[in-house]
């Protein structure tokens, strides 16, 4: 009941949408009734259109994000761990971090064409820096404890890295990955909207261009929901992972 | 005729304040604390206390005994739901500049300088500009913060922050000073200095003071009377007279003082142990 009251505003918005369209307060081309959007969604699931395009998109986002987490995480920890790496990499990170990543869309196309490669590269480049910065800040905050315990216990340097630095970098690293996750969806949809032959963004553009608006709305809502769901699932997983912090 | 006597003893009216009407009257006040989640807790249970004009009373007890809650009720920050609190004969309804408060963690406005913090209250009282500037300087001097007028709280030590908070509250000249463990966040040395400082200021600008603490020696040293509170639900267990010559530099070694601290410590110890047991 409490949850119902909490999420009632969303239901009211949906109801408002349906009514506004049914009573033709707005043009039904601009806003088809929600019920028709649902029908269109079911149709697209049946024909498999949504699933094929969706899987293509999720593959790109997953591959790009995965690469950025591995490489960005290692780079961030290396920056905190080694002074020379820091001196070399930090200015580049500082220079590229404020770059609006969407500007890279045409370049990735020039390099890798219209297919999966350019999207994966874009998402990788765009998502890497938040992960790197998260890992760096997290690992750096452990430095003091690390030096002391390393001295007192005489532990092997790499062992300390794994036992102390990585776990203490975890909370901030996971936070950086959350930012990256949100960015990956933004970059995925943007790049597919602009140039693609497949994927959610492509489908939205294609349906829109053909005036198939109820189907377009269905895809837009699907992408929005997936972005929301991915974030919630990620939060659930990180809560588990960070249970030791309590 | 036994009942009225009992009541007056509970109210602490056995003291010389009997003839003079008390400035603060706390009468049978109970308070239910409702946490956002979890069960309600009876924080105060039928607490009664009278405080005379210009008297210095310490509320002493283990943590969680509701002593701060009582202070917040007198200050008007929390609503009085059961019982009554009168200040100068009038029931407390809201916070007001007649009752100045000093918090443990200072509650200074971090975006204002020392001077700005002190000026804020004077401004709200509608004091003319020249007058309030002068008054702010006077109080900065009183607490010994000359040279730090334009420092921000983040640039001050804990002791200096608390001096600022005390100056800020004294500056708008409340009749009553409510102090919520004001030295609890300071280190031991600073704490000792601040206690002497507070006494010095209090002797220069006498006010009614209610001082919350869990430090027995601090309570005995500063207060005229110490109200010892019991834990959960918070009640006033006894009120002990603790009038000493505060200006005696050897007071901490005086036999009478040491014995008094010991006596009160024994009263508090049982409560502290009980509180420990109840919390786990």
């Amino acid at each position: 009941m409490k949850q119902f009251i909490r999420y009632l505003p969303l239901l009211l918005l949906a109801l408002g949408w349906e009514l506004a369209a049914r009573l033709e307060l707005v043009s039904t081309t601009a806003l088809p009734p929600l019920s028709e959007v649902v029908v269109a969604w079911i149709d697209m699931i049946k024909t498999g259109e949504l699933v094929t395009n969706g899987l293509a998109s999720l593959y790109r986002a997953g591959a790009g994000l995965g690469l950025s987490i591995v490489i960005g995480g290692v780079l961030g920890i290396a920056m905190a761990w080694s002074k020379p790496v820091n001196v070399l990499v930090a200015p580049l990170v500082e220079m590229f971090y404020p770059l609006p990543k969407s500007a890279l869309i045409p370049v990735t196309v020039i390099w890798l064409g219209f297919g999966d490669g350019s999207k994966i590269l874009l998402i990788f480049l765009g998502c890497m820096l938040p992960v790197t910065i998260g890992a760096f800040n997290g690992a750096r905050s452990s430095e003091q404890v690390l030096v002391w315990s390393a001295r007192s216990m005489g532990a092997h340097k790499l062992r300390m890295l794994w036992d102390v630095v990585v776990p203490s970098a975890m909370p901030e690293l996971l936070n950086g990955i959350r930012t990256a996750l949100a960015l990956s969806f933004i970059l995925l949809v943007s790049s597919e909207l602009i140039v693609a032959q497949m994927g959610f963004g492509y489908l939205i553009g294609y349906l829109g261009a053909n005036g198939n608006y109820d189907a377009m709305y269905a895809v837009v809502l699907t992408v929005a929901f997936l972005g929301f769901a991915a974030d919630r699932i990620y939060l659930l997983i990180t809560k588990r992972t960070l249970a030791w912090r309590e | 005729m036994k009942a009225p006597l009992d009541r007056s003893r509970r109210l602490g009216r056995v003291h010389a304040t009997m003839s003079v009407p008390a400035q603060i009257v706390v009468d049978q006040v109970s308070h239910l604390y409702r946490p956002p989640r979890g069960r309600e807790v009876l924080a105060l249970d039928q607490v009664s206390l009278d405080v005379a004009n210009r008297e210095f009373v310490a509320l002493l007890g283990p943590s969680g005994c509701g002593k701060s809650t009582l202070l917040y009720l007198i200050g008007g920050f929390l609503p009085v739901e059961t019982g009554a609190i009168l200040v100068d004969g009038k029931p407390v309804a809201a916070p007001g500049p007649d009752r100045g408060i000093v918090f443990q963690h200072f509650a200074l406005f971090p975006w204002k300088t020392v001077r700005g913090n002190i000026l804020y209250g004077l401004e709200r009282q509608g004091m003319p500009k020249d007058e309030r500037e002068q008054r702010a300087l006077d109080f900065i001097e009183l607490v010994g913060l000359n040279g730090f007028e334009d420092s921000y709280p983040s640039q001050l030590s804990g002791g200096m922050k608390q001096r600022t908070a005390i100056a800020r509250t004294l500056a708008f000249d409340p009749k009553i000073l409510l102090m919520d463990e004001p030295f609890g966040a300071l280190d031991a040395q600073t704490r000792g200095l601040m206690q002497a400082e507070l006494l010095r200021i209090w002797q220069r600008t006498p006010k009614t003071v209610i001082f919350v603490t869990h430090d027995v020696q601090e309570a005995v040293y500063l207060a005229d009377r110490v109200a010892v509170m019991s834990a959960r639900p918070g009640r006033i267990k006894t009120i002990v007279d603790t009038k000493f010559d505060k200006n005696d530099p050897a007071i901490f070694k005086a036999k009478a003082f040491v014995e008094k601290v010991d006596e009160i410590w024994n009263l508090v110890k049982d409560e502290a142990i009980k509180a420990q047991g109840k919390r786990t």
Partner: protein, 268 residues
């Protein structure tokens, strides 16, 4: 100032300059050399010198100024709307139960959504003019501001509010004199998240809708397989992004001069 410590200071300054720009210089040099060596075709990687030349030409013809001004205008107007609207909604949510009830689920569901997906819908409603560009930017960038404001106001210590009321502050005064300044550090953090978002979305919106603006210019160049133009666009947008982020950090330091962080030695 006494002259002692001068040589050390100069040496330290040089060290900082050299280390800060060393890898950037190497990167730029590598770009030029790789492009000229023929490892990549000029289409894949135009030489840095040609890209700079192209930027110079754009600057001379005035295209650069027009495109930059338009993109900045769209991003900054949206940013201003986000700042004012986001703080207002956040404040309303903190002070009014009904507003909180209505907006809370919308924020918690809407924040993680890729709202850029609504861009075609916005185009459908508002056309391909500035209104629709600004709308989509605001929709994307306002969420961090609202969330930061709500969290900031929730986090204000009650003792701070009590102190102000103790000194005689009235409700209306509390909002401007106490609540807003106390919440400012976190609100600024929210704004610092929102600002780069406005640029990201502005560029995407321009790419998709075409016309003037840095994103539109890049798209035009890309359509004509003019990769020098594309790289010039990236450099221009990167410089703008860098300047905006730095300006915001400067503004933060100015506004929050009283804040703890301002007194800590900064390493970054």
């Amino acid at each position: 100032m006494p002259p002692d410590g001068w040589p050390e200071k100069a040496a330290r300054f040089t060290y900082i300059v050299v280390t800060r720009f060393f890898s950037i210089a190497v990167l730029l040099a590598a770009w030029e050399i790789l492009a000229r060596s023929g490892t990549f075709t000029p289409f894949q990687l135009p030489a840095l010198s040609n890209v700079l030349l192209r930027i110079w030409q754009d600057a001379v013809t005035g295209d650069l100024a027009i495109n930059t001004a338009l993109t900045l205008y769209r991003a900054l107007v949206s940013f201003a709307i986000c700042a004012v609207g986001g703080v207002a909604i956040g404040m309303a949510m903190s002070r009014n139960r009904l507003a909180h009830w209505f907006f809370d689920p919308i924020i918690s569901v809407g924040f993680p959504m890729p709202k850029i997906a609504f861009l075609p819908v916005i185009i459908l409603w508002l056309g391909v003019y500035d209104v629709s560009k600004i709308s989509i930017i605001v929709i994307d960038a306002i969420f961090p501001v609202i969330a930061a404001t709500v969290i900031a106001i929730q986090g204000i210590e009650r003792e701070l509010l009590w102190s102000a009321r103790n000194m005689g502050a009235r409700e209306r005064e509390m909002l401007w004199q106490i609540v807003l300044p106390a919440a400012l550090p976190q609100i600024m953090t929210g704004l610092q998240v929102a600002l780069p978002l406005t640029l990201i979305v502005a560029v995407v919106a321009e790419m998709l809708m075409g016309g003037y603006g840095l994103g539109g210019a890049m798209m035009t160049a890309s359509r004509f397989a003019n990769s020098t133009g594309v790289f010039a666009g990236i450099v221009e947008i990167a410089v703008i992004g860098y300047c905006l982020v730095k300006a915001m950090a400067l503004l933060r330091r100015r506004l929050l001069i009283w804040h703890q962080e301002a007194n800590e030695p900064t390493t970054a």
